[in-house]
């Protein structure tokens, strides 16, 4: 029982790390980016290739996945995404669905359609007993890394100069620009950072979420749920939503394998109808 709870927490943490970039592009910059999962998939595949073909250590792969995917995100933001910030939502949907299709087919072409496996370092395999609960070591590792990241993110957003600039740029881009903040540079950096986190999450999640070319399509809804249900007015909303979703999904699949996914979609629809701005949002927040 508690093991399931813990697995759910680890799963939710992972979802949060991947989706937090989306929370910023979708919630704050108001860009419907359905291709966010593609960045996570890129991180996963980078890890797989580095580990299985070049024998790079798993711990080294994680920062590499983060940096490469962040660079990829920056490149795409500068060349493509930037043109569409003010475009109608339909255009953004079409564009990002197009990107998803391209990434799915390209990965299928390059890596084949089979499920990819990574071999974790031996110290992360197996289980440990903590307070009498059997806990997978790898899940413990994920939870620890994600918890550190969450705290760091919150601090960066709330305490640093860059965090203030980002919040200002999001609240009112024109005034922020008038105050001398380079809004497009802030957005580009944020987008790259969000993509990098997705890549990191994808790299760590390859073992738990599974990794095959359909990854962006399969998990698109999950990331969207985290953001829409959590709301976008703070970091805490999406974080709680991700944890809830993770626990509900793991528990649902364990206890009611027949209707697990059905319940999650159903709850999402009801949620959206009752609270269109998210579960934890302030009234009237953007």
């Amino acid at each position: 029982m508690l093991t399931i709870l813990f697995d759910g927490v680890a799963y939710g943490m992972l979802l949060f790390i991947i989706a937090v970039g989306l929370a910023i592009t979708l919630g704050l910059m108001n860009f419907i980016n359905l291709a966010h999962g593609a960045f996570a998939m890129a991180g996963g595949y980078i890890t797989v290739v580095l580990m299985n073909r070049y024998g790079v250590s798993f711990y080294l792969c994680l920062p590499i996945a983060f940096l490469v995917v962040a660079a990829l995100g920056a490149l795409l933001e500068g060349t493509l995404y930037r043109r569409l910030y003010s475009a109608p939502h339909l255009d953004q949907v079409l564009f990002s669905v197009g990107l998803v299709f391209m990434s799915v087919a390209a990965v299928h072409y390059l890596m084949g359609g089979q499920q990819q496996l990574i071999h974790l370092p031996p110290e992360l395999n197996g289980r440990t007993e903590i307070f009498g609960i059997g806990v997978g070591r790898y899940r413990l590792f994920i939870t620890a890394v994600c918890a550190v990241l969450v705290v760091a993110l919150q601090l960066v957003l709330a305490k640093t100069r860059f965090g203030s600039q980002l919040r200002a740029a999001v609240d009112d881009g024109r005034v922020a620009r008038g105050l001398g903040i380079n809004v497009s540079a802030v957005f580009a950096l944020t987008f790259a950072f969000g993509s990098g986190l997705a890549g990191l999450g994808g790299a760590m999640g390859a073992e738990i979420l599974g990794l095959d070319p359909n990854f962006p399509l399969k998990f698109m809804v999950y990331f969207l749920i985290v953001v829409t249900v959590g709301g976008t007015s703070s970091m805490t909303g999406p974080f709680l939503a991700a944890l809830l979703l993770g626990i509900a999904d793991v528990a649902g699949k364990y206890y009611f394998p027949q209707i697990g996914a059905f319940v999650i979609y159903g709850v999402m629809v009801i949620m959206l109808v009752l609270r269109p701005h998210g579960l934890f949002s302030r009234e009237g927040a953007r």
Partner: protein, 356 residues
Amino acid sequence: MTAVSESQEAVSAAAPEHLAAAQLRRRSAWRAYELVLWLVAVALIFLLPSKALLLTEIAIVALFAVSLDLILGYAGIVSLGHGAFFGLGAYVAGLFARHYFTEPVTGLLVAGLASGIFGFAASFLVLRGSDLTRLMTTLGIALMLAELANQMAWLTGGADGLGGFTIGPILGLFEFDLWGRTGYIYSLAVLFLAMLIARRLVHAPFGLSLKAIKANRVRAAMVGVPANSRIVVIYTIAAVYAGFAGALLTQTTSFVSPDVLAFHRSADVLLVLVIGGVGYLYGGIIGAIVFTLLRDWLSVITPQYWMFWIGLVLVVIVLIGRENLARWHTFLPAPVQRVFKRAASWRPGVKLGGGG
């Protein structure tokens, strides 16, 4: 210009309601390209009998895209889950033929009715919220249905699909043949009737009020357009159309694959509509022709990776800009443009050379 301004002066002397009626009539008149399109579609029955299966697919995709155009192009609802109604229609038609009655027209109507009821219920969920909320709600409904169809294997066959039924002759008269000729004529007839009704709807004050809601909901409400009930009505009609399209697919292939509810159906139909252009009904048909031929051609060249090229087309369309795509003819040399303009403004019963 003279003919137009004269006729405007003539009507403006009359009462405003006559003016409005005349304007509506003028907008709803049949255009040359419409007639050409339907004549070509009929001629293809005889000219390309070997391609009837492909033509049937085009007709079905076209009907599906027209149904999306009703809600996206007229009411402005961005939906990522329109495949739900398509899939529901497909399954209902399949189950009806298997368990009750194999006559296809009855099956079509039953499937349309089922989709319509579901669409009516679902329409209340898209009334509120922003584009994003609607997107997620429609997507969520489609995913729920897909999950349901997958889990209820005793009813739907699950991942293996629903087969084991045969479709009887249409109205008891016309047998489906092996080459798909009857199927094409049947699908084309359904598409034509659906288009007639849709044309009538969108050119009526009802359609204009939808466009007003799309442009500005608050203002539309201020001039007395009941936005919510209009959206419910058009969403239900669109669901019926999508159900028809799904039923046609089931009846012409005698099989329902779980793929009818897959996410890519909803994404494909968006692409179809965007290729053809949103908001004038024929966009769905033109898009269906381009898309189906393109996919057919791509899947011959790269059987596994056609998805990549479809994605590329989407990205390129967005980067070029949909509005530039819709006015492609303005990039042609001037003399060619004039010919197009004449052809487009020509309609039966009106003297040529009026210009406009």
